[in-house]
C-alpha cells in the first residue's frame, strides 16, 4: 500500500487547522523538514503547540514568523553561530508567543517515555536546581522515588499528534534511511501518532532493503511519504547538501521586524509553489551538494 502523497495532499490530509501538538524534526541547521514547514505555511494551518528537537532553527522560526504557533515547547531556537532567531525572540518578548521552557534531557527522555507508553520519566538529579521546573509545571513535576524515599524531578511523556520529519530515502511504504545524524527524529517517529516524512528520494523496497541496518524507520510508523528533493534547503540535508549560510543571513537581514519577516514569508514561501521555490534555489543547491570526499565514500552505502 503506497503512502506516497504530494506535498499539498499530505499536509491537507494530516495537518488539520488548529492541530494539537506538532513535533518538527531536524536539529540546528540540519535536516529541517522545510518543504513540509513551507507547505504548512502555504495552507495556513494553525498549530496549538509546536515541539522542537533540543535545538530548533528555521523549522520553528518560520512557522512563528508566519504567525501560526500559539505555544512552543523547546530548549533552544536559534541559528547557532549565525545568530538569534528573531521572530521567536520577538514573539516571546512581546508576549504573543507562549513558551513551555524545556531542557535537552527532558525533550529526549520525554520522547522516550511517549514512544514507550511510559506514564512519565524520572529525570537525573540537577534540573531541580534550575528555574526551569518553576516556569513549566505542565511538563515538569516531582514524585517519590520508592526505592530511596527521595523526592525526584520527573517529566511528562511527549506524545505529538503529528511529526514533520525528513529522511534521506524511503520506499513507498515509509521504510526510511536516515543518512547522517539521527538527532531525536527517530524518537519523534516512535512517539507521534501521525508521521509525515519528506525524503530526498523515493526508492524501491528492494533498494532500501539492501542496507537493512541503515534503514531505521519502519514503514508502519509512517503515514505519508513525500518526495522532496532539496526539501531541507536552506538547511542541510545530511548525505545530500550543506546548509546555505548566505540564505540564513538573508533571512536574518529581512526578519529584523515583523513586517520584514512577513515579507520574507511572502517572497520565499506563500507567493511560490514549492517547485518554484526550489527552481530558484537550484543553482545554490548544486554548489552545496556534498562531493566525493572521504565521508561521501565512507557513507556511500547510504546513497541511492
Amino acid at each position: 500500500m503506497s503512502k506516497v502523497l504530494s506535498l499539498p495532499e499530505a499536509v491537507d490530509r494530516f495537518v488539520p487547522d488548529g492541530v494539537g501538538l506538532v513535533s518538527v524534526g531536524g536539529m540546528h541547521l540540519h535536516n529541517n523538514p522545510m518543504a513540509l514547514v513551507r507547505e504548512v505555511i502555504r495552507q495556513n494551518r494553525r498549530i496549538k503547540r509546536l515541539l522542537t528537537s533540543p535545538c530548533g532553527a528555521l523549522n520553528a522560526e518560520l512557522l512563528i514568523a508566519a504567525g501560526l504557533i500559539d505555544e512552543i515547547a523547546t530548549s533552544y531556537v536559534g541559528f547557532e553561530h549565525i545568530g538569534l532567531a528573531p521572530s521567536f525572540r520577538r514573539g516571546i518578548e512581546a508576549g504573543s508567543l507562549k513558551i513551555l521552557e524545556c531542557d535537552e534531557a527532558y525533550i529526549t527522555h520525554g520522547l522516550y517515555a511517549g514512544a514507550g507508553g511510559l506514564p512519565f520519566v524520572a529525570l537525573p538529579k540537577g534540573i531541580e536546581f534550575t528555574d526551569i521546573p518553576k516556569v513549566n509545571k505542565e511538563n515538569y513535576s516531582f514524585t517519590t522515588d520508592p526505592f530511596t524515599g527521595d523526592e525526584v524531578p520527573v517529566g511528562a511523556p511527549l506524545k505529538p499528534d503529528v511529526a514533520l520529519l525528513h529522511a534521506y530515502q524511503a520506499d513507498a511504504q515509509g521504510n526510511a534511511v536516515v543518512a547522517g545524524a539521527h538527532f531525536v527524529d527517530r524518537y519523534m517517529a516512535l512517539a507521534s501518532k501521525t508521521v509525515l516524512l519528506q525524503v530526498e528520494q523515493i526508492v524501491s523496497t528492494k533498494e532500501i532493503s539492501k542496507h537493512p541496518q541503515g534503514t531505521t524507520i519502519p514503514g508502519f510508523l509512517v503515514h505519508a511519504v513525500i518526495e522532496a528533493p532539496g526539501g531541507c534547503y536552506p538547511t542541510a540535508s545530511h548525505g545530500a547538501y550543506e546548509f546555505d549560510h548566505q540564505a540564513i543571513v538573508e533571512y536574518l537581514g529581512m526578519a529584523k521586524d515583523d513586517d520584514g519577516a512577513k515579507g520574507y514569508i511572502s517572497k520565499f514561501v506563500t507567493d511560490l509553489s514549492e517547485q518554484e521555490y526550489l527552481e530558484k534555489a537550484a543553482e545554490r543547491l548544486e554548489e552545496l551538494r556534498y562531493g566525493s570526499g572521504p565521508l561521501a565514500v565512507a557513507l556511500s552505502d547510504r546513497k541511492g
Binding site: M27, H28, L29, H30, P54, C55, T74, S75, Y76, V77, G78, E80, H81, L84, A85, F88, R89, I92, E93, G95, E101, C102, D103, E104, A105, T108, H109, Y112, P124, K125, G126, I127, F129, T130, D131, I132, V135, G180, A181, H182, F183, V184, Y187, A236, H238, G239, E242, F243, Y290, P294, L295, A298, L299
Partner: protein
C-alpha cells in the same frame, strides 16, 4: 579585529581562549560541547594533538566522538563531523550526561554568568516579559552533574557578568557554599572561566569567581570595570602565557576556515 601582537607571536583573543581551555584538559578526559562550539572543538583537538592524545571529545549535535575534521566547522550538527572514531546517538549522549562518572568536562556559556558560575541562556529581565529572550538552555542543566565545567564567553562586560542571573538555567555553585553543599550534586562545579580579557577560577572557600590571569595587554582595572559583580582579585595577577609557536601552528592547521582568526 582585536589582534594581540605585543611579541613575536601574533594571535587572536579567540585563539588564546582556545589554547587556555586546551591546557585545562587531561589525557583521561571525556569532553562534551554543544551549540556553536568552534572554540572548545579546537581546544579539544589541540589537546589531543599535544598533551592529551587519549582524550575523548563528543560533538554535541551529531554526537560523533573524536571527529577527525580539519578544518573545524562552526556548526556542532554538521554532517562532516560524522567522520569520527565512533558515532553515538543524541539519546546516548543525553544518557551519559546523566552520569558524572563518565563525562568529565562540559564547555558552558551564557547570556548571563554570575559570581558563582551560574549560567543563564533563557531570559534577561522578568521571565514573563523578558528584555532579552535568549535561545534556550539546551543541555545546561547538566552542569550540575558533569565532572568539571569550563565556561567560556566572547563577551566580557557587566551585562554578561552579573551579580545574580535573572534565570538560572545552568547551575554553578548555586547561591554559594551552603546551598552547594546542601545540594550534594554529583558534579564538581565550574572550574574555569575564559573570556577575551582574562581567565578566572573560583575561590575554594567562598566559591566566588576569582581573577587568575589577565591576557597580554589587558589591565586588571579593565577586567574589574567589565565585571558586574565584585570579582575576587588577588594581590598578584600573572599575565596569561602566550600560546607557544607549536600550539599556534597546530591550531591553525585545524582552523584553516579561520573561525578563530581575528576575533
Amino acid at each position: 579585529m582585536t589582534v594581540i601582537s605585543d611579541s613575536s607571536l601574533t594571535f587572536s583573543r579567540s585563539e588564546l581562549m582556545a589554547v587556555e581551555l586546551s591546557k585545562r584538559l587531561r589525557n583521561d578526559d571525556v569532553t562534551v560541547m554543544g551549540t556553536a562550539s568552534a572554540i572548545p572543538q579546537i581546544a579539544c583537538r589541540l589537546a589531543q594533538l599535544t598533551h592529551a592524545p587519549d582524550l575523548f571529545s563528543i560533538a554535541g549535535g551529531t554526537c560523533s566522538v573524536n571527529p577527525h575534521l580539519a578544518p573545524v566547522v562552526p556548526s556542532c550538527g554538521d554532517y562532516d563531523l560524522l567522520r569520527a572514531d565512533t558515532s553515538l546517538s543524541l539519546n546516548d549522549v543525553v544518557l551519559l550526561e546523566g552520569r558524572a562518572d563518565v563525562l568529565t568536562v562540559f564547555f558552558a556559556g551564557g547570556l548571563q554568568i554570575d559570581q558563582y558560575g551560574n549560567c543563564n541562556l533563557v531570559a534577561v529581565g522578568d521571565y514573563s516579559h523578558p528584555a532579552l529572550r535568549g535561545p534556550g538552555t539546551v543541555g545546561l542543566p547538566f552542569l550540575s552533574r558533569v565532572g568539571r565545567v569550563l565556561i567560556y564567553t566572547q563577551s566580557h562586560n557587566a551585562r554578561t557578568f552579573v551579580e545574580h542571573v535573572d534565570f538560572l538555567s545552568g547551575p554553578g555553585f548555586l547561591q554559594g557554599p551552603s546551598s552547594w553543599q546542601a545540594a550534594s550534586l554529583p558534579g564538581g562545579g565550574p572550574q574555569l572561566v575564559v573570556t577575551p580579557l582574562c581567565t578566572m577560577g573560583f575561590d575554594p572557600e567562598t566559591l566566588r569567581m576569582r581573577l587568575e590571569t589577565v591576557h597580554p595587554g589587558v589591565e586588571v582595572d579593565q577586567v574589574r570595570a567589565a565585571t558586574g559583580f565584585e570579582l575576587i582579585i588577588p594581590s598578584s595577577i600573572p599575565v596569561t602565557p602566550e600560546p607557544t609557536a607549536e600550539q599556534l601552528s597546530v591550531l591553525r592547521k585545524l582552523d584553516t576556515n579561520g573561525l578563530l582568526k581575528g576575533k
